[in-house]
């Protein structure tokens, strides 16, 4: 990797930060370039790309925007494979001409470029062009979710959220002004990337007609895709001479067309995280009806309401099954618990009641998934092996289990237990229901 724009006078210049973090924490060999030459932190500073004898896979450009077209041509001439343009000062600043110039250079020479006006690429342990000091940023966990974002700021926000929730990333891509590489290319890349199992994309709009290419690519994609599109204000429809045009605003059309695909569309950052996380565990699957296993009636009712709103059935159990379940459980709860759906074991239930109920429920062929509303403060909920035992049932019956656990640090042992054994945990019932919605394959 060659980085253009190293500053000899400003240690906090983005190019210097990118250089330092990649030099010391990532595996890609890095060269720095400044026309003045000299040394930087004991390393030779090259005066130009042609001075470097080795093949350069990627040039990272953190220089004045008006210098970029010439530098791109030099990189192309030197046989560099592609570039990331961090610099701003293009169409976002009214310089559409400059952006068009670099686009034409890249198209003419078949030279892939990410940006401009973006943060570039995070792909641990190889490369990280996000220009933040490591000590002032989270360290994303390794995982299977590939993120692409039109906004660098939102990408950072998402990376923080994912890391805080212990959800790992395969790679992250900030496409910025998308002069050349855009969300369609990102989708195509992640679909073929062996490290990525779930693709999450944040974007604000397509360039003209590019939405059609995006849908075509989406139909080819074998992996679950979560889309978060901002910019929902309906476009002004001046002449209402056409009924169709009056109904179909930009976002409305997008939203409707996405409904005809398998992609999951979300409208908030928390929902984006939940959907990506749930899909990373379970992928898309048939999910017509779920069962709720709770230790509190109120929690069960709230969960039922959310499922109803989301179009997922919470089917009451047939009476014989309810009776059979009741007879299996502790005598002290047989007269006070509810054994239909939601199954409310009450605050008197034990770990064993919880596990036996989960097993019985997962065996029912009319149940496609199980939400457990787990309250660690219930006196007889004592066993830290409960998450592991539930995880074993999930594997045995191949049905998704999602756990709601209220968050206080003391419950960490349970929360980590669920996550360590492959059961996603949320701290809101609504989010748990939305996770099921995300994994439900559309008909």
């Amino acid at each position: 990797m060659a980085i253009f724009g190293i500053s000899m006078t400003n240690p906090e210049h983005p190019a210097n930060i990118i250089y330092s973090k990649n030099k010391y924490h990532y595996q890609t060999k890095i060269y720095c370039i400044n026309p003045s030459g000299g040394t930087f932190r004991g390393e030779k500073v090259y005066t130009g790309i042609k001075e470097i004898r080795e093949h350069i896979d990627v040039a990272v450009l953190v220089i004045r925007s008006d210098l970029i077209p010439a530098i791109l041509l030099e990189c192309i001439d030197a046989g560099v494979s592609g570039a990331i343009i961090i610099s701003g000062g293009f169409s976002e600043a009214g310089r559409h001409d400059l952006q068009e110039e670099i686009r034409q250079i890249c198209l003419e020479h078949d030279f892939p470029v990410i940006g401009p006006n973006g943060l570039g690429v995070f792909s641990s342990p190889f490369i990280n062009t996000l220009f933040f000091q490591d000590e002032r940023f989270v360290k994303p966990l390794e995982g299977v979710i590939g993120l692409a974002s039109q906004s660098g700021g939102i990408l950072v926000d998402l990376m923080i959220r994912f890391t805080q929730e212990q959800v790992g990333l395969s790679r992250a891509l900030s496409i910025g002004n998308k002069a050349v590489i855009d969300e369609v290319d990102a989708l195509r890349f992640f679909n073929s990337d062996p490290r990525t199992k779930v693709i999450g994309i944040y974007f604000e709009g397509f360039t003209p007609l590019r939405g059609r290419d995006f849908i075509a690519e989406l139909k080819k994609t074998r992996k679950p895709v979560v889309l978060f599109k901002a910019g929902k204000t309906p476009s002004s429809m001046k002449a209402i001479s056409s009924h169709t045009a009056a109904i179909a605003g930009d976002y409305f059309v997008f939203n409707e067309i996405i409904k005809g695909t398998d992609a999951v569309e979300v409208t908030t950052e928390p929902d984006f995280l939940s959907a990506c996380e749930a899909l990373s565990y379970y992928g898309l699957r048939k999910l017509d009806s779920v069962a709720i296993l709770t230790l509190s009636g109120g929690h069960g009712v709230i969960a039922s309401d959310y499922f109803h709103q989301l179009g997922i059935d919470v089917v009451p159990f047939p009476d014989p099954d309810s009776r059979e379940l009741r007879d299996m459980l502790s005598v002290n709860i047989q007269e006070i618990a509810s054994f239909s759906n939601p199954v409310d074991l009450t605050g008197s239930a034990s770990d064993e009641d919880f596990i036996q109920s989960a097993k019985y429920i997962l065996q029912r062929d009319y149940v496609d998934g199980l939400l457990v509303l787990y309250l660690p403060f219930i006196p007889k909920m004592t066993s830290s092996s409960l998450p592991w035992r539930l995880a074993r049932l999930r594997s045995e019956y191949d049905k998704p289990i999602i756990a709601y656990v209220p968050y206080i640090p003391k419950f960490g042992v349970f929360i980590e237990g669920f996550e360590a054994h492959g059961i996603p945990v949320t701290h809101s019932i609504e989010s748990a229901a939305k996770m099921f919605k995300a994994i439900k394959r559309k008909k």
Partner: protein
């Protein structure tokens, strides 16, 4: 695209929209059915055709100067005899640019709306919804990229919140969803094949009753 369709579009280009009988002709030439209709240019023709009509009928003005017929008083409904139709002809003939009337049979059934437009993000898209308040107030429509297979068209129809209205709500005659999906799929293919030749199309209403899916009004903007 059949030559007659291309000719109609070419001849309508300077006007910016296609006259209703010709818009309906384009639909018919592409396998979509319309309510039975007659373009009457002379009141004397009413007497000659009167045995063909099944009353009630509706009379609509045909004028290259009037696209929004209802707003200009160019639509007279519930005509039950040749005399009433003749009177309607006379009344409508006073409207600007009068080139005759279109006599449409009035069909009962569930009203749906279908449409197409050239979307800046997606290109040609098609829309289907249940007519009246479902579309206008609740925006209960499905929009998809053209063209659609019959299966994709069916899935789009099944995504409508008001699907129950199509499947025989409160004892109404159910609409044959397969027939409707076939109609929507054929329409989407027409839209795709029209390519850059139009800006938007409204089929509003389309009357549905059992297997019958009949376009009652068609508007093509160029």
């Amino acid at each position: 695209m059949k030559k007659r369709c291309l000719d109609i579009l070419e001849q309508s280009k300077s006007r910016g929209w296609v006259l209703e009988p010709e818009a309906k002709e384009i639909m018919k030439l592409n396998g979509l059915h319309t309510c039975r209709n007659w373009w009457i240019k002379d009141a004397a023709d009413i007497a000659a055709l009167k045995k063909q009509f099944t009353y009630p009928v509706v009379a609509k003005v045909i004028s290259p100067l009037i696209m929004h017929k209802t707003e200009k008083g160019g639509v007279i409904k519930n005509l039950n005899s040749a005399d009433e139709l003749t009177a309607a002809f006379k009344k409508l003939s006073s409207l600007e640019g009068f080139e005759g009337i279109l006599v449409d049979e009035m069909i009962s059934g569930l009203e749906i709306i279908a449409g197409a437009q050239d979307d800046p993000q997606f290109g040609k898209v098609v829309m289907i919804g249940i007519g009246g308040t479902s579309v206008e107030i609740y925006r209960d429509v499905a929009i998809r990229l053209a063209p659609l297979t019959e299966n994709e068209a069916l899935r789009a129809i099944e995504s409508l919140r008001g699907l129950d209205l199509l499947t025989g709500y409160r004892g109404a005659v159910p609409v044959d969803l397969k027939a409707l999906a076939g109609f929507f799929s054929r329409f989407s293919k027409l839209v795709f094949n029209l390519g850059e030749r139009f800006k938007s199309i409204d089929l509003n209403p389309v009357m549905c009753r059992g297997e019958k899916i009949l376009i009652a009004d068609a508007r093509i903007l160029l």
